[in-house]
């Protein structure tokens, strides 16, 4: 450059400036829409706040109320059940489909796109409503079972034993994004390892358990953490399909939070619920990371 005093144009052309300018939209957005609201929410969680009137500081009252509230524990139980059943099922499903689609044929691309589709649309309101109709008393699922000889239609959404399962199945069906991640890491495994295994006389089954799975563990771990967080934050399905009914058997934690915040105008309490959820998710993620060294292979190939 030669010249010590850079013109504005030259300053803008430095690498540092480009970096700052390019990340600025994100940084501003992050501060404005994440950090500031989080701070406000933390403050609200220590307040009596009903949305309509200004918040009044009330100390730990909201947190104390929570632990005496039966519905709080119910919603927590429901959420744990949902996350701990749907996430492993979803991952197993994703892995199986990824293994099937791994082999390249002309149609593979189309199949991959098709299986990915539910992940894109699965969290939407439209699919939730569709799901509700599928499992309705006069819905398709009942019609099929009736054709197969069932006598009375089953109230899938109205029975405390089955309602949560309709939501779990919906969640498992959205396996696409995990599947794509599995697919890409399956491709990373060098062919030479399989050739070596074959020479050693390993069959396909042994190859899967001894070569594929161990080398996939870091991907499984990544998927597990991400999906677990998603599972705990699930909202749309319960809010649209069951609204926590029947008898709170499908009351996700987030739905309970929403009800308290906006329907019963206990917004301060709702904010406290949100922070407890953050702590729970943090704890679970930490536990997952703590177990990592026992089962995740992170060496090279």
């Amino acid at each position: 450059m030669g010249n010590k005093h850079l013109t504005l144009k030259q300053k803008l052309n430095t690498e540092k400036a480009a970096g700052i300018i390019c990340t600025l939209p994100f940084i501003i957005g992050f501060l404005l829409f994440m950090i500031v609201p989080m701070g406000i929410s933390l403050y609200y969680s220590f307040c009596d706040y009903n949305i309509l009137t200004p918040p009044v500081f009330s100390g730990l009252k909201n947190y104390q109320k929570m632990f005496n509230e039966e519905v709080f524990w119910t919603s927590l139980k429901v959420t744990f059940k949902f996350a701990f059943i749907s996430v492993p099922l979803r991952l197993i499903f994703a892995l199986i489909v990824a293994l099937i689609l791994f082999r390249s044929t002309k149609m593979t691309g189309i199949y991959r796109a098709m299986y990915y589709l539910p992940s894109m649309i699965g969290g939407s309101v439209a699919v939730a409503i569709l799901w509700k109709r599928l499992f309705a008393l006069d819905g398709v699922i009942n019609k099929i079972f009736m054709l197969l000889g069932m006598k009375e239609p089953v109230s899938w959404l109205g029975d405390t034993r089955t309602a949560i399962w309709t939501l779990i199945i919906l969640a498992v069906w959205q396996f696409g994004s995990s599947m794509l991640i599995f697919l890409s890491s399956l491709k990373q495994i060098p062919v030479s390892l399989y050739e070596a295994a074959e020479i050693d006389g390993a069959n396909k089954w042994q190859q899967f358990w001894r070569v594929t799975l161990p080398l996939l563990t870091s991907t499984i771990f990544f998927n597990l953490v991400m999906q677990m967080i998603n599972g705990f934050l699930a909202f749309t399905q319960s809010q649209i399909i069951t609204q926590g009914k029947p008898m709170n058997s499908t009351l996700f934690y987030t739905v309970y939070m929403y009800q308290q915040s906006f329907q019963f105008a206990n917004t301060g309490y709702g904010a406290a619920l949100a922070w407890v959820m953050l702590a729970i998710i943090g704890l679970i993620t930490w536990i997952l990371f703590a177990t990592k060294r026992f089962w995740v292979y992170e060496g090279g190939f």
């Binding site: 894109m120 008393l137 006069d138 405390t160 029947p246 906006f262 105008a265």
Partner: protein
């Protein structure tokens, strides 16, 4: 090669996402541009033109049903025609969603200038300073209230100031399938007692398998109604922070009906309600069912909802109307402002325009020839008389029901409910679920509601 396929696949997926995102925003924008050009057309679409031409688009939100949405939109169209340049962004919602939407908007200081208000929320909204004082407009004559009776104006006033104009008068009413009852040869009398009502439920269930639909997730309706018959006009005592009764006995009657229904099998259970939108006219089991076991012969609603119910009912079904069962109908029954029109305090420059619309909806005979008393018998006596001959048979039945059945045999309305009451009602709703699952008795539910109520009211004191 494989990686390239994957990469292009991912690209395609992302592009699709972006396109979908753009599509979502592009459509309403186009609508917004088109609306003023087409002579100011109000849209009932939820994704209506967003503030197309700055200040001239008035956002108007209400809860309701299909009939109300259609008629209100048509009346607003008429207003736009008579007042070129004024357009509306109509945002109808269902009752359940309406209040969470409104309170969120209130928190963000973005309440729509024109909104529908309910008696049970009026006090809360006024004390939070969210509604505009309409008194100056009434004094200046911009809002003509000369044909509205003082009693009706009072119900929309807080501390002597008018914050809400009654849109119509209504009363609790039991809507029933008259065609079915005629077929079965069962008569449904006015002023039924709870015993008579249960007797009819049993007969209908035995003869046809059709059940009865009691208010589900709506303890705020029938619970206070039956408590009034036990001498408790206000359930909540805000000043002392407790339930306004010494023991839970005045509430037992309410839970007992559900318990009887569950034990004898004639009640629409939680399993069927799990699939329905709560308290929606269109999804009431009275008219929305697939077999007798999901059908109801009656439903608990309000008189002004009969028009929408008759509209949504199958063609061969005639809807009848009578009082909600109670052992003391005179003590239980009351007339109620079905809903109000209010102007929000953050309407700002649009305040005057919004008041003008309320004046139009209240006093214009032309507008009410479109609305036809769907929100209840019009508050203005001049308008009520003018549209009476135009009303269809259903509306005339409703007017007759209000004037001849309810008015001579009713008591004043209970005071507006305080903060925290809706939470108590929600607990009552959960206990109803327990009763419908056979996990609780009426006495236990009443006791639990009493305990929770005292606890919640104490915390709100």
């Amino acid at each position: 090669m494989k990686k390239r396929i994957l990469a292009s696949l991912l690209c395609a997926v992302m592009t699709a996402g972006v396109l979908a995102g753009c599509g979502g925003t592009a459509a309403p924008a186009a609508g917004g541009a088109a609306a003023p050009a087409e002579g100011a057309e109000a849209s009932s679409d939820a994704a209506a033109p967003a503030a197309a031409e700055g200040g001239d688009t008035l956002v108007f939100t209400w809860w309701g049903n299909q009939t109300r949405n259609e008629r209100t939109t048509a009346a607003l169209d008429l207003y736009s025609e008579q007042n070129p340049g004024v357009t509306f962004d109509a945002q109808p919602a269902a009752w359940d969603d309406y209040w969470s939407k409104l309170s969120t908007a209130a928190a963000g200081n973005s309440l729509p200038p024109l909104l529908q208000m309910d008696y049970s929320y009026l006090e809360q909204y006024v004390s939070s300073g969210l509604l505009a004082d309409l008194t100056p407009y009434i004094e200046s004559g911009a809002l003509d209230a000369s044909n509205i009776s003082q009693g009706i104006m009072d119900s929309g006033s807080v501390d002597g100031k008018v914050y809400a104009i009654t849109a119509g008068v209504n009363a609790p009413s039991l809507l029933y399938n008259k065609t079915l009852m005629d077929e079965l040869g069962i008569e449904v009398p006015d002023y039924m007692s709870v015993e008579q009502f249960e007797d009819i439920c049993r007969q209908v269930y035995e003869k046809s398998g059709v059940k009865a639909d009691l208010p589900y997730m709506a303890a705020d309706n029938y619970l206070p109604y039956l408590a009034r018959a036990n001498g408790v006009t206000a359930l909540f005592n805000k000043e002392e922070g407790r339930m306004n009764m010494d023991d839970p006995s005045p509430m037992v009657d309410y839970f007992k009906v559900f318990q009887d229904g569950y034990e004898e099998g004639w009640i629409i259970g939680a399993d069927i309600h799990a699939e329905l939108q709560n308290n929606s006219v269109e999804q009431s089991p009275l008219i929305y069912f697939s077999s007798p076991s999901t059908q109801a012969w009656c439903a608990f609603f309000w008189s002004n909802q009969m028009a929408a119910m008759a509209e949504a009912a199958p063609d061969d079904m005639e809807i009848g109307i009578t009082t909600w069962p109670s052992k003391d109908p005179k003590a239980s029954m009351f007339l109620k402002p079905s809903q109000f029109f209010s102007v929000s305090s953050n309407a700002g420059a649009q305040e005057e325009a919004a008041v003008k619309v309320i004046d139009f909806l209240t006093n214009s005979v032309e507008a009410n020839e479109i609305l036809l008393g769907e929100r209840g018998v019009p508050a203005s006596s001049v308008v009520a008389d003018a549209i009476a001959p135009l009303q269809d048979e259903t509306a005339q039945i409703v007017t007759k029901y209000i004037n001849e059945v309810v008015t001579p045999n009713s008591s004043p309305i209970s005071p507006a409910i305080p903060d925290g009451a809706n939470e108590v009602y929600d607990y009552a709703n959960q206990y109803i679920d327990q009763i419908l699952a056979g996990a609780m008795t009426a006495e236990e539910a009443a006791q639990a509601t009493f305990d929770k109520g005292n606890e919640i009211m104490a915390s709100k004191k």
